[in-house]
Every structure is written in structure tokens, then in C-alpha cells.
């Protein structure tokens, strides 16, 4: 059973006699969506969360001792790059789903910069269907704003929104929308479909040819820099356009002090804006570039300490709603080359919980509840996924169980992702996924991926 990593279908019924399920016994149950934070039992029966209580009688159901562990809503990644269709050698939807399940996720939102681009209903429906087939997590496709991501003509926004994939988040991620006029029209149009305009904030004329954050280190390393202002200018423009149009705006992977402050002010003024930050941006600084490791090349770039600290402060005070991975797989031969020629991006699904706990929870920036809020509840809320980000009784059992104090060393060779591009190899982290349940089925048991058992 456990040897099978490939799930067939989420709709396969449990074959056990009588009531199927699991009793998670004696864990610290934390559900920020309902304010629950108490030691107790959680009963999964017939795929739903049947009961949360002090001491539940398991009956004939398998009991899993989770004492000392945290039981929380399954994690939701708002920002995952899969490479299917196009570069299935780097990441398929199935392999991304395995990496996600191993990382404690029960839902991932896939970015549209595939080949072909997810700018039509047929592509997003294909991604959605492959996600269903993989079965380990809910795959929620994002759609492109513009055809081919070139920022000129609108993608089939309405058709994608109305497709079975029910696309809600639209973005040209990989690059920012350079034309303010296009951005404005896209925002206006999205309102009809309750869509979210999500931006990769980068003014290309300022960022031109940049390899890393512009600052003392880029000057010393002899690399063209990307100034913080390249992000901040576009973020400011989009906030202004969101205010103008009323369209919901989500700023992807924000990385600078200026953007954090901008969002803080916009929220206080009632602009419908949300944003996310990545584990690498709150963990690392541009110091990681000093050895010219292409695995630390990412866009937006790793910033200096002051920006990193502002991102942490933004996560702590809730200005930054979500922690998202920007999981971006690349083949070894694409990263094992000269820094300048290497594509930006790193894989993050299998390290995000550990980095959040290590860098934010254990260092006292975030409570456990707030960490779960940023990793699960907020992204589920923004994406409109009622089955995720909550431990509501009666709802589908999308649950992660993790040990907040378990220390381990990141070994990229053990990743379930098809790619290994991470700057965190060899890093000691604290906090480990123990079990993940997707729709009541274990996808990870005792930190081992099990697939959906039949």
C-alpha cells in the first residue's frame, strides 16, 4: 500500500468495513479560522472532520497518537509553478502534488506560465483534470491575464473563470504587466467574474538585466542590480488602479520594505489588496549570493537585511496575508551553469513549513496560530477555497499534523519534486510534517509520502 505513490482518484471510496477514518489522538489542535487552540482529539470519519473533542471514543477506527504534535488545517500554497504542460522533466502536476503533500499541503494554486500558457479554458481545464488525477492535493489553476503573457491582449478570462477549473486568480506571473492601461482594463474586466488581479511587481525598465538585489553586495559582486523600486513602483501603480477600479488585487511575493509599507497604508485606506511573501525572502538575504550560487538566484531577488526584516514585520502584523512558496522547479543543467545565464527560481513546497517555523515561530515573530493562518487560512480565504484552511466539523478533512520541534537537515535528494534547485540544502531546520490528510485520506504518514490508499 505504502509503496504506491501514484493516486488514482480522490473519488475512490474507502474499502474498509464499517465507518472508515482516523482518530488523531492527543494533539494540539490549532485552527485559526475558528480560534481553536487546545489539546484534544480530532476524528476523521468518512472523509470529513467528524468531531473535535477532549477524549473521543475511536470505536473501530484506527487511532494515530499525535501527542506532542500540532493538528492544523492543511497548508495552501497560493503560488506554485508546475512545468506541465511544457517541461515535464522539471515538474509534472503529479510530482508537484507529491512534493506538496509531503510538505503538508492540501491545495496548490498553479501559475499559468507553462508552455502553452494557461490563457485559455482548455489549458486550465487540463491542469485541473491532471490535478484531480494526481489526487494528493487540490490543484487550483490560476489563469493568465494576457494572451501569451505578453501584456497586450486579454487572455480568455471569462472562459477560464466559467470553466470546470473555476479560475479565480489571474496573473502574468514571471513578469509584471508593464502597461498601466492594460492593467487597468484587466482589473475592470475581472470584476465581472469576481476575479483577483495578481501581480508580479517588477518594472522592467528599472530591473533591466538585473541579476540580484541592487545594493552594496551587487556592486561588490559585479552584478547588475534590481532596485527595490522596480517592485515598489509597480505595486504603487497597482494599488492606485485597484482603488480606481475596485478590483481585488493580490501582490505576489513582495520583498521590499517599501512594498510592505505601501500595502499597510493601502489596507488602512480600505483598498481591496492582499499580498504574500515567500520563505526565502524572510529567511535569506542577498548575502546568499556571495558564492554566486545559481540556486539562490530568484526573482524578485533576495534583498538586503533591512528589507528582509520589513517582510518579517509585515508577516508579524498581518500586513502580509499569506506565506507562499513561489515553488519554481528547474532542471540541474539549467542551474549548474554560470550565474548570469541561470534562470531565477527555487523549489519550496517541501521546506516552507519548516522555514516558517524555524525563522518566524521559533524566533518569536509569529505565534503558532498566526503561522498557520499565513500558511493555510489566509490563502484559502483569498482563493475562495471553503474546503481548505479550516478544521470546521462537517467539512472535508484537509489536515496537516506536524512536529514543531523536530530538527532535521534539508537534503534536496530526498525531495519528491522532480527538481532539486534550492539554496537550503544542508540547512538545519526545526519543524517537520508528520501526517497530511487530503479529503480524509492520508497522503503523508510518519513523514513518508503514501499516496492515497485504496
Amino acid at each position: 500500500m505504502s509503496g504506491s505513490q501514484q493516486a488514482r482518484s480522490t473519488s475512490t471510496p474507502f474499502a474498509l468495513g464499517g465507518m472508515s477514518g482516523y482518530l488523531l489522538k492527543g494533539g494540539r489542535v490549532v485552527d485559526p479560522s475558528s480560534g481553536v487552540d487546545a489539546v484534544g482529539d480530532l476524528l476523521i470519519a468518512d472523509r470529513v472532520i467528524a468531531e473535535i473533542g477532549d477524549s473521543i471514543d475511536p470505536g473501530s477506527i484506527e487511532v494515530i497518537d499525535v501527542s506532542g504534535l500540532v493538528v492544523a488545517p492543511g497548508l495552501v500554497d497560493m503560488h506554485t509553478h508546475v512545468r506541465e504542460p511544457g517541461r515535464e522533466d522539471e515538474e509534472t502536476i503529479a510530482s508537484a502534488a507529491r512534493a506538496a503533500a509531503a510538505g503538508g499541503y492540501t491545495a496548490i494554486c498553479t501559475m499559468p506560465n507553462t508552455d502553452p500558457v494557461a490563457d485559455t479554458a482548455s489549458v486550465v481545464e487540463k491542469v485541473w483534470a491532471l490535478g484531480r488525477e494526481a489526487g494528493l492535493v487540490q490543484v487550483v489553476p490560476a489563469g493568465a491575464l494576457s494572451k501569451g503573457l505578453v501584456g497586450e491582449s486579454m487572455a480568455d478570462i471569462g472562459e477560464m473563470a466559467r470553466s470546470v477549473a473555476r479560475v479565480r486568480l489571474f496573473t502574468d506571473d514571471g513578469k509584471g504587466v508593464q502597461s498601466a492601461l492594460f492593467a487597468r482594463r484587466a482589473m475592470e474586466y475581472l470584476i465581472a467574474f469576481d476575479g483577483i488581479y495578481a501581480e508580479h511587481c517588477e518594472d522592467e525598465s528599472l530591473a533591466l538585466g538585473g541579476q540580484m538585489h541592487e545594493g552594496e553586495r551587487s556592486i561588490a559582486l559585479g552584478m547588475r542590480g534590481i532596485p527595490a523600486e522596480a517592485e515598489e513602483l509597480m505595486a504603487a501603480r497597482d494599488v492606485a488602479l485597484s482603488r480606481l477600479t475596485g478590483c481585488r488585487l493580490h501582490l505576489l511575493h513582495i520583498s521590499t520594505a517599501g512594498t510592505v509599507e505601501l500595502v499597510r497604508r493601502a489596507k488602512s485606506e480600505g483598498v481591496p489588496v492582499t499580498c504574500e511573501a515567500t520563505p526565502h525572502h524572510f529567511t535569506l538575504t542577498d548575502e546568499a549570493l556571495e558564492g554566486y550560487d545559481p540556486n539562490a538566484k530568484v526573482n524578485p531577488p533576495l534583498r538586503s537585511e533591512d528589507h528582509r526584516d520589513a517582510v518579517i514585520a509585515g508577516l508579524a502584523d498581518g500586513t502580509i496575508d499569506a506565506i507562499a512558496t513561489d515553488h519554481a522547479p528547474h532542471a540541474i543543467e539549467e542551474k549548474d551553469i554560470e550565474f548570469q545565464y541561470a534562470p531565477p527560481g527555487l523549489v519550496g513546497l517541501e521546506t516552507s513549513l519548516a522555514l516558517t517555523l524555524t525563522e518566524l515561530f521559533h524566533k518569536g515573530h509569529l505565534s503558532l496560530s498566526d503561522a498557520i493562518e499565513r500558511l493555510s487560512c489566509a490563502p484559502a480565504r483569498i482563493l475562495g477555497l471553503p474546503d481548505h484552511g479550516t478544521l470546521a466539523v462537517g467539512g472535508p478533512a484537509n489536515v496537516v499534523v506536524f512536529d514543531p520541534d523536530a530538527s532535521w537537515e534539508v537534503d534536496p535528494h530526498l525531495f519528491h519534486s522532480l527538481s532539486r534547485n534550492t539554496p537550503f540544502g544542508g540547512r538545519k531546520v526545526t519543524g517537520r510534517v508528520v501526517h497530511t490528510f487530503f479529503n480524509g485520506n492520508p497522503t503523508t504518514r510518519d513523514s513518508e509520502l503514501v499516496g492515497v490508499s485504496v
Binding site: 533591466l208 561588490a220 559582486l221 559585479g222 552584478m223 547588475r224 554560470e338 548570469q340 545565464y341
Partner: protein, 310 residues
């Protein structure tokens, strides 16, 4: 002494002095009729050049040959030709398999020599990487300055021109500051990153205000046209504000030197008449490059540790 030479950061003042002293001894040899030494007999040096630079390559090639090393030249012009053929890492491993003892690498991507040094057992010499560093140029420049002023400490050196895009500037600032010189970077603000202050250099946008005090005026090559962006209005305007012409030279101290890493844009950063003045030591820089590169090959390939004499 050191396995690789990647950056001037790795050299202390004593290290620099040792490289220079060794170069001085080696230059004696190159002045005599029989210029070849048997020192590196049986060693192989590869010149791996991803950017065309005949001058630097020839200097390294001659240095290796003067010490009797075998020399392989491997040139790949650009990213595209490499992308079609084998990768940088494949090339590195191929050279390694051939038993190359040292790789002299010139590359357009900053940090490429450091990456290379992680892949091979051979010694790696940075012959210029991107905008990052060009340590052998800095060493030969410091050597040339030391010939005229016995001690570099307290010397005032102006480095004028396109500091932002210059690996020569980075290496020279580091080396000169290590040797105790006072360095001022001069040019239009678009070419002088303010962060360079953290290297221990001063910044000025006015060449006339510093020219009287300098012992060395080091001019960097100014790219006439940059494809991506414009950094100053015209060559004429550049020359008027930051070019070294005879009017400015007249204000210099009598024994102050003019230096340039070459090739010169006469009429832009340096006027033709100034380039031919006795105080211009551009050709000394070229010939000193040979001695410095011989010195480095000897010190780096001459073994791992200090040994005993029998």
C-alpha cells in the same frame, strides 16, 4: 601560497608584496638573452577565454611559456556558441580529465571563476569576470606604481571613468586600499556607484577638484555606446568634464603618473597628446603584466607548502 586567484579580496598587503617581489626577480630573467626558464616544465596551463581579449591571453600565454609550461588555448566567444556546444561545467571537467594544472579564465559572467574553482582540482586564475574583478590587472598596475613610488601608502590615486561596469576598478580599489593608498573615484554619477564608498574609496564628480592632488590618475575605458541605456549625453560632454587632456595634465604634480588598462579611447577619456607624455606609463603596464603573470604562475603552481632546502 594560494591555490586560486579569484579576487583581490583574498590578498593581504604581504601577499601582494610577495607577488610583486617575485615579479621583480622574474623580470631580471626576461631582460637577458635566454628568456626561458625550466621552472614549470611538464605543467599544463589552459587559457579558457569566453570573451575575446587577445592582449590578456597573449600575456598569460607568454608568461606560461617563459616558464616552460605547456599552453592550451580554448576560446568560446559568447553565450550562444557555448550554449550550442558543451556547458561551462562540461568544459571544466574535460580540462580536468586532460590533467590541466591551471586554468586561466576570462568570462563575461561575474563569479564564473569562483564557480569553476568548485568544479576542478586545477588552480584557477581569474583573468577578468564580468564586472566583478580582474586581479592580475590590479597587481600589474600596483607593480607599475611601485616602480615609480617606492611605497604606495599615502599615495593619492584617482580612478576616473566607468567604475560601475569595470572589473579593473573593483580589483584596483581593493588592492590599492590594501596597500595603503588613498583612492578617489571620479566620473559622472551614472558611472560611479555610491556603494563603492564601502570599499574605502572616496567619490568625486569633479575631476578638476582632485587633479592637483593626485600622484596617479588612472583612466578607465569608457564604452562609447551601451546598448541598453544611456549614461551620459555624448563623448564630447564626457571628455569635457572627465577626460584627461593637456589642460588638466598641466595642473598635475610634476611626477604624477597617467595610467590606463587599455585599449584607450583617445579623445574620450584621454586625449591623444596626453597618452604620449612620458608620465603616461601605459606601455610599462603592458610589459609588467608579463612579469606579474609569471610570478603568479610560479607562486601558484610552484607547490602547496613552504618546503626545505637540501
Amino acid at each position: 601560497m594560494f591555490k586560486h586567484l579569484l579576487s583581490m579580496d583574498q590578498l593581504s598587503a604581504d601577499d601582494i608584496t610577495r607577488v610583486l617581489d617575485t615579479a621583480e626577480s622574474l623580470r631580471q630573467v626576461t631582460d637577458r638573452p635566454i628568456k626561458k626558464l625550466p621552472t614549470l616544465r611538464g605543467r599544463t596551463v589552459c587559457n579558457l577565454f569566453y570573451e575575446a581579449s587577445t592582449r590578456t591571453r597573449i600575456s598569460f600565454e607568454l608568461a606560461a611559456k617563459r616558464l616552460s609550461a605547456d599552453v592550451i588555448n580554448f576560446s568560446a566567444d559568447s553565450k550562444s556558441s557555448v550554449a550550442k556546444g558543451e556547458s561551462f561545467k562540461d568544459t571544466a571537467w574535460t580540462l580536468e580529465a586532460m590533467g590541466v594544472d591551471a586554468i586561466v579564465v576570462r568570462h563575461g559572467s561575474s563569479g564564473a571563476p569562483l564557480q569553476l574553482s568548485r568544479w576542478v582540482k586545477a588552480s584557477v586564475l581569474n583573468a577578468g569576470d564580468g564586472w566583478h574583478e580582474h586581479p592580475t590587472q590590479a597587481l600589474l598596475d600596483i607593480f607599475s606604481i611601485r616602480e615609480h613610488f617606492k611605497d604606495l601608502s599615502g599615495l593619492n590615486v584617482a580612478i576616473a571613468g566607468d567604475v560601475l561596469h569595470s572589473r579593473v576598478a573593483r580589483s584596483n580599489v581593493k588592492g590599492l586600499v590594501t596597500m595603503g593608498a588613498n583612492v578617489v573615484l571620479v566620473g559622472p554619477p551614472t558611472l560611479i556607484p555610491i556603494q563603492a564608498r564601502s570599499w574605502g574609496a572616496e567619490i568625486s564628480y569633479d575631476l578638476d577638484s582632485v587633479i592637483e592632488d593626485v600622484d596617479v590618475c588612472y583612466l578607465l575605458r569608457v564604452q562609447k555606446e551601451r546598448a541598453t541605456e544611456q549614461l551620459f549625453p555624448s563623448n564630447r560632454e564626457y571628455a569635457a568634464n572627465w577626460g584627461l587632456d593637456s589642460r588638466r595634465v598641466a595642473k598635475m604634480k610634476p611626477d604624477a603618473l597617467v595610467m590606463h588598462p587599455g585599449p584607450m579611447n583617445r579623445g574620450v577619456e584621454i586625449s591623444a597628446d596626453v597618452s604620449e607624455l612620458p608620465r603616461s606609463i601605459v606601455l610599462d603596464q603592458v610589459s609588467n603584466g608579463l612579469a606579474i603573470r609569471m610570478s603568479l604562475l610560479y607562486l601558484m603552481l610552484g607547490g602547496a607548502e613552504e618546503g626545505d632546502v637540501s
